[in-house]
């Protein structure tokens, strides 16, 4: 989905707490409806740059929910406060301006595009990585494509966004055992990929680098087609700065903002990249 040229102002309609995270919803009057996996560069209209220090550049956020209606498109973002930019965004109040550019980047591909024999989609999310999967499972459901979501969290503080998965088949894992299986979400994936089920699988993952790397390695071993929604530092989000380098298996780097953020697991060398992604 192509984005309007330049930044525009959306107005915040809701800022809700969701576990350890926040869900910021804004009304984008002009913008198109984004595709699942796309992201926006966000900044606040005022006070972007707390106390003379950062943030200076806009911040990238996957869209987690998008519904078009009267007045434009309602965009929801799932947000974890990890630094000055997310901190300011987490402070947004209703009516405030959210300055955005997007939708940007390459969205998820249909299961059949990943694997001609795909029976459905397996979504694997970790922590804040739930965001792009939430809108993806909606899209799949709307198209009547079977999808199962495996969602993992480190602990209670680092969890949230589950309401975005209403009425879908969800299995949980948590390292501290506060919800579902005590352990990694990749344990659940491993069980699910046993036997011939691997042949009909199409995996979509988003989460911390360690989790993505586990998913990548597992899918490589089981020869399962997978797409990863990845993160890296981004200055522009539209291919201008070449700052979002992600190492390619074939050598060299891709620009995650234009060649991603959704990439084929087979294309990347590793999901563990210096300075990229959440803890």
């Amino acid at each position: 989905m192509i984005a309007p040229f330049g930044r525009r102002r959306a107005s915040v309609v809701e800022n809700a707490t969701s576990g350890g995270y926040r869900i910021i919803t804004a009304l984008d009057a002009e913008g198109p409806v984004p595709a699942a996996g796309q992201f926006y560069m966000l900044a606040t209209e005022h006070g972007w740059s707390g106390d003379g220090e950062r943030p200076f550049l806009p911040r990238a956020f996957s869209v987690a929910e998008a519904t078009s209606g009267s007045g434009g498109v309602r965009l929801s973002f799932l947000l974890e406060d990890v630094g000055p930019g997310t901190h300011r965004l987490a402070d947004l109040v209703e009516g405030e301006g959210l300055v955005l550019t997007g939708p940007l980047g390459r969205p998820f591909s249909m299961p059949r595009e990943l694997n001609p024999d795909a029976a459905g989609a397996i979504l694997v999310g970790g922590g804040i990585g739930l965001a792009p999967l939430a809108i993806w499972r909606r899209t799949l459901a709307e198209q009547g494509i079977a999808e199962r979501s495996l969602l993992g969290f480190r602990d209670r503080e680092h969890s949230g966004g589950l309401e975005l998965f209403r009425c879908s088949e969800v299995r949980l894992a948590s390292e501290d055992g506060h919800a579902g299986h005590r352990g990694y979400v990749t344990d659940l994936l491993e069980l699910m990929l046993t036997g011939d089920s691997a042949a009909t699988a199409a995996v979509y993952a988003c989460g911390p680098p360690a989790m993505l790397e586990a998913v990548r390695a597992l899918c490589e071993a089981r020869e399962v087609a997978a797409e990863l929604a990845m993160e890296s530092p981004m200055a522009c989000g539209f291919g201008a700065c070449f700052g979002c380098a992600m190492p390619l298996r074939s050598g060299g780097y891709l620009r995650l903002c234009v060649d991603g953020p959704v990439v084929r697991a087979a294309d990347v060398e590793t999901a563990l990249v210096e300075g990229a992604g959440h803890r």
Binding site: F5, P233, A235, F238, F242, P247, G252
Partner: protein, 299 residues
């Protein structure tokens, strides 16, 4: 000539004085993200390409970015398809832009620079070249743009290769940029552009470098007054036109650079925050011109 209207940069006709800084706006990628609006509403009066090198480069290992108050540090490492890749796949697409095309080039020796300049200048789509001399001379080991002698030696060798404008991009990491500019002018440069990024290194609390390449270059509003000082000094020292850049974020910044003697103003980091920053800056510049009498940039 009005400083917000049409102007000319050593023979290149420009609709207005706002162009892009090399490496800060990829028109091809922008078109993928924003579609034909990029063509219909192109915010720059000329398009300066990212720096092209003789052979392809993959660029520096990540992380490549660091953010500072009102600034950023980058260590991109000039990733590019190399001369052949640029001429073959990028140039035809860039030729569709509604503005003149200036190609930024760089090499690590005169021997490598010459064929690069010749090949690029030979293409009709190319209106002019920007010579990125913030690079080491593999023979002397010196950074060309940091030495008046190295700079004039390079330009003297390249000057005869083309009649098209040669714009020398100066590095700010010197005691006296005007001395380098004078050397470039005397060697036959048609214009100079400045400032490039300032050497900087974000370090973590334990002293380890954050950037994959160890260090990088600072840009953004934080360097604005450094750019104003260097552009004013250079414009006072040379007769050839000056392309001013460095932290331009508002129309008043652009006006100040023009007032300091720049003919054209380049917008860089501001485009990362807003892809249409240059359009806004131009609008603010025009509005400002109506209020105060901003002196016209030198033709």
């Amino acid at each position: 000539m009005s400083d917000a209207g049409p102007t000319t940069l050593c023979g290149i006709e420009l609709q207005h004085p706002i162009i892009n800084a090399s490496g800060t706006f990829d028109a091809i990628a922008a078109r993928l993200a924003f579609g034909d609006a990029v063509i219909d509403r192109f915010p720059f009066s000329a398009y300066v390409s990212k720096t092209i090198t003789p052979a392809p480069r993959v660029g520096n290992p990540p992380p490549r970015l660091w953010e500072e108050p009102a600034a950023m540090v980058n260590s991109i490492g000039l990733p590019n398809k190399g001369l052949d890749g640029f001429l073959g796949s990028d140039l035809p697409v860039l030729a569709e832009l509604p503005v003149p095309l200036i190609v930024s080039v760089m090499a690590t020796s005169v021997e490598q620079f010459a064929p690069l300049v010749e090949a690029v200048a030979a293409r009709d789509e190319v209106a002019g070249l920007e010579l990125n001399v913030s690079c080491p001379n593999v023979h002397s080991g010196l950074i060309v743009g940091e030495e008046p002698g190295e700079t004039s030696a390079l330009i003297e060798r390249l000057r005869p290769l083309t009649a098209k404008p040669l714009i020398v991009k100066l590095t700010p990491n010197v005691a006296d940029p005007a001395a380098i500019a004078i050397a470039a002018e005397q060697a036959g440069a048609d214009a100079v552009s400045l400032i490039n990024t300032i050497k900087a290194a974000p370090l973590l609390a334990d002293g380890r470098p954050w950037l994959g390449a160890g260090s990088g270059g600072l840009s953004g509003p934080a360097v604005r007054t450094i750019a104003l000082k260097q552009v004013a000094d250079v414009a006072a020292a040379v007769e050839i036109p000056v392309v001013g850049m460095g932290g331009i974020e508002r129309g008043s910044d652009a006006a100040a650079l023009l007032g300091a003697g720049a003919t054209v103003v380049a917008v860089g980091t501001a485009s990362f925050r807003d892809p249409l920053a240059a359009e806004r800056i131009r609008g603010e510049l025009e509005a400002l011109r109506r209020e105060v009498a901003v002196p016209a940039g030198r033709p």
